[in-house]
């Protein structure tokens, strides 16, 4: 089943982004074939509820899990309600993270790992 990964830029060679709601790029990928598409999110320009609108976009892609650095309470609630596994604390190259996921290295989070608006104050390289 496809998964979504937060991305610093729209490439498989990019790094996993620390943010979810305010992240600009996502990689939607099939871990078995490594076939992927890059998705651009409107989260960064949302006045409010970026986690919610981003979650809805990701849910609409029919993924089974999300790999991200952080995930706030509103996004977590929406993703969980839709039955999507949220895996936080992911970092490094996207391709490597996807391989680790496929190998069963990750455990799904049972709660958000940051407060609301955390991504707005996150510096990224």
């Amino acid at each position: 089943m496809k998964i979504a990964v937060t991305a610093g830029s729209p490439e498989l060679e990019a790094e996993v982004d620390r943010r979810f709601g305010r992240c600009r790029h996502f990689i939607i990928i099939d871990p078995e074939t490594m076939q992927f598409e890059a998705l651009e999110s409107t989260g960064p320009s949302a006045a409010s509820g970026a986690g919610i609108s981003t979650a809805q976009m990701i849910i609409g892609k029919g993924v089974g899990a999300v790999l991200t650095g952080n995930c706030g309470p509103n996004a977590y609630q929406a993703l969980s309600a839709a039955g999507i596994k949220v895996i936080t604390g992911v970092s490094g190259k996207i391709a490597a993270a996807v391989k680790d996921y496929q190998a069963g290295e990750f455990k799904a989070a049972d709660q958000p790992n940051v407060d609301a608006h955390s991504g707005m104050n996150t510096k990224t390289d």
Binding site: A47, S48, G49, I52, S53, Q56, I59, A78, A81
Partner: protein, 288 residues
Amino acid sequence: MIISIASGKGGTGKTLVATSLALSLKDRERVQLLDCDVEEPNSHIFLKPVFNDSQAACIPVPEVDDEKCTLCGKCAEVCAYNAIAVLPQQVLVYANLCHGCGACSYLCPQKAIAEVERQVGVVERGQSNGIDFVHGKLNVGEAMAPPIIRKVKQHTNKGGIVIIDVPPGTSCPVVEAVKGSDFCLLVTEPTPFGLNDLVLAVEMVKGLKIACGVVLNRAGSGDDIVLDYCRAEGIPVLLTIPLDTDIARMYSRGTALVEGLPRWRKSFNSLFDKITEIVNERNRCPER
């Protein structure tokens, strides 16, 4: 005549000016004070009103009838605040993001959304020595002040003098409190921070096309930075209050300036006369 008292920087003396102005004018005209700093109202500390009315302040939030909902997604599409999310099997409402605009309920094709009142604070009314007093108190943990500010302003007297104690800053709550007033008095202090925020406040008031003037509080050192700016922008400095330990001591005890030092009544009456002159002049020549 509606006079709002704003500042930009917090702690410059808005409430000091608002309460003193109200107390100085109450014997010559009917005066009402609206404390719109609903996150931290403090005018009541100085005016000590006897409250006789308290009403819950609510905003409408959506409640979805799952029997009627077809998960079409229209509500999520129209919500400007992402307060409602339509998922494959359910609709999630994020009540604390909802601004109560009513669009989702209005546009739902199945009429599946009802509006439920959610209390966000309270509006209290009372009397203080002949001054009509109204203030709003936003519940702790709530993020949106403008709905309560609107409810407070619904009680604006028609006729007489209305003084609005405005929250600090220049964003949504301030705009909501200031808009519709005939004059905006900007209270500042002669410091770089004070001046920086005064400049932002002037920009905001000009954007609202409301006449303004400055009260320079805690004056005595560094005044020139403010005076030079006001002169360059053509903004009148209508009152100067010195940095004075007696005034500060009095204030910290909850005593209004004109009650502790009655000689200041004359200055606040003059302040009002100057404001009236400016407003009348503006009404005569509206293109300025």
